[in-house]
Amino acid sequence: MAALGAPMRTLRALLRELRHAAGRSYRDSPAYRHVLAAFRAHRVTSEKLCRAQQELHFQAATYLCLLRSVREHEALHREYHGRGERSPKEVAGLVGFRLPQQPGGKG
């Protein structure tokens, strides 16, 4: 079985990620409610080793990894890869030139 740590920790981190993803009304979002309901349903069990509980925990950890990495990936993309090409005016400005004005249009 994978070394997952405490389920409460995963749940808290997952809810935090969902909050980031959803925005204002995160508590009404279907994902938030579904996750909470699933964790509540699997809490009460008399077995010491509950396979369904571990499966749920693994799924929650996987979903948490997905949300977190998508957020980080998007942040990195915005930071490093999202800018596109500079316009000719900006390029000229980089070395201190200005583009020539041709009042009559190009010849």
């Binding site: 279907p30 579904h34 950890a61 990894c65």
Partner: protein
């Protein structure tokens, strides 16, 4: 932009044309044939919906963007068999702010692939493609030098290989030669019959995870919940991690690739589990 969205089509539309550069801007713009600058990134679709909700139809669960139903790129109705998967896809669509970034919506992409089957492969072909990866499995290819890397590979990869051998009762082994390990036919048959027990959707997911991790063994240990996604990605990128520790980390390349690989692998694994599970809730009676 809004005129185009009136249609019910929500396919991956061709990128909308950039607005023409205003004529007052200085003369020598390399304007291409359709008025776009060369190499400019295509304009992204703006978020054109307010609410994302789920509804249940005959074939399964559907996603509604405002009042329109989501469709796949080939214009089929987007239906998923599992409610949890539908909720996750809805969350993906809901988390898009301002513009829709399709490259972050991995679960949606996987569902579209499963529904459309653009490569038109049947189950046997998918399984064959998946098992073919075993011959070039990452964890079976070892180096001899540098010795630190060889040692690291032995310590990290050997446990996973022996777990797989024990779990599936097969022989895999590892090799330092360029041809790779010699996988006996019985091993391949065992994996073929094991993969045949998954349904078509789950198989698409499995094949996706194998392609991302470049290893059948790591994918199976992930699907069997033996290791976590972060660990599987780490094992898949073992040599890169070794080099990073040696030479340093480049955030815009290494971290970028790491996050992308983690996202895709996590999406694939979640997809497989949600497509192959069937949960029933049995309420235990409280005994006084």
């Amino acid at each position: 932009m809004w005129r185009g969205c009136r249609r019910l089509w929500l396919a991956h539309s061709p990128p909308a044309r950039l607005p023409r550069p205003p004529p007052a801007a200085a003369g020598s713009c390399p304007v291409g044939p359709c008025g776009r600058r060369a190499y400019a990134p295509p304009a992204e679709r703006k978020r054109f919906y307010q609410n994302v909700s789920i509804s249940q139809g005959e074939g399964g669960f559907e996603i509604n963007l405002d009042h329109r139903k989501l469709k796949t790129p080939q214009a089929k109705l987007f239906t998923v068999p599992s409610e949890a998967l539908a909720i996750a896809v809805a969350t993906e669509w809901d988390s898009q702010k301002d513009t829709i970034k399709f490259y972050t919506m991995h679960l949606t992409t996987l569902c579209n692939t499963a529904l459309d089957n653009p490569t038109q492969r049947n189950k046997t072909q998918l399984i064959r493609a998946a098992v073919k990866f075993l011959e070039t499995d990452t964890v079976c290819y070892r180096v001899e030098e540098p010795p630190a890397l060889a040692e690291l590979q032995k310590n990290e990869w050997d446990p996973v290989v022996s777990w797989a051998e024990k779990r599936y009762n097969v022989t895999i082994g590892s090799s330092t030669s360029i041809l790779g390990p010699n996988i006996p036919a019985s091993t391949k048959e065992t994996f073929v019959s094991h993969l045949a027990s998954y349904n078509m959707w789950a198989l698409q997911g499995i094949e996706f995870v194998i392609t991302q991790l470049k290893s059948l063994i790591l994918s199976m240990s992930l699907i069997d919940r033996h290791i976590t996604v972060e660990k599987a990605v780490l094992l898949s990128r073992l040599e890169e991690e070794y080099q990073i520790r040696r030479w340093g980390n480049v955030e815009w390349a290494h971290d970028y690739d790491l996050c992308e690989l983690r996202a895709r692998t996590a999406a694939g694994t979640l997809f497989v589990h949600l497509c192959s599970e069937s949960s029933t809730v049995k309420h235990k009676l409280l005994q006084d």
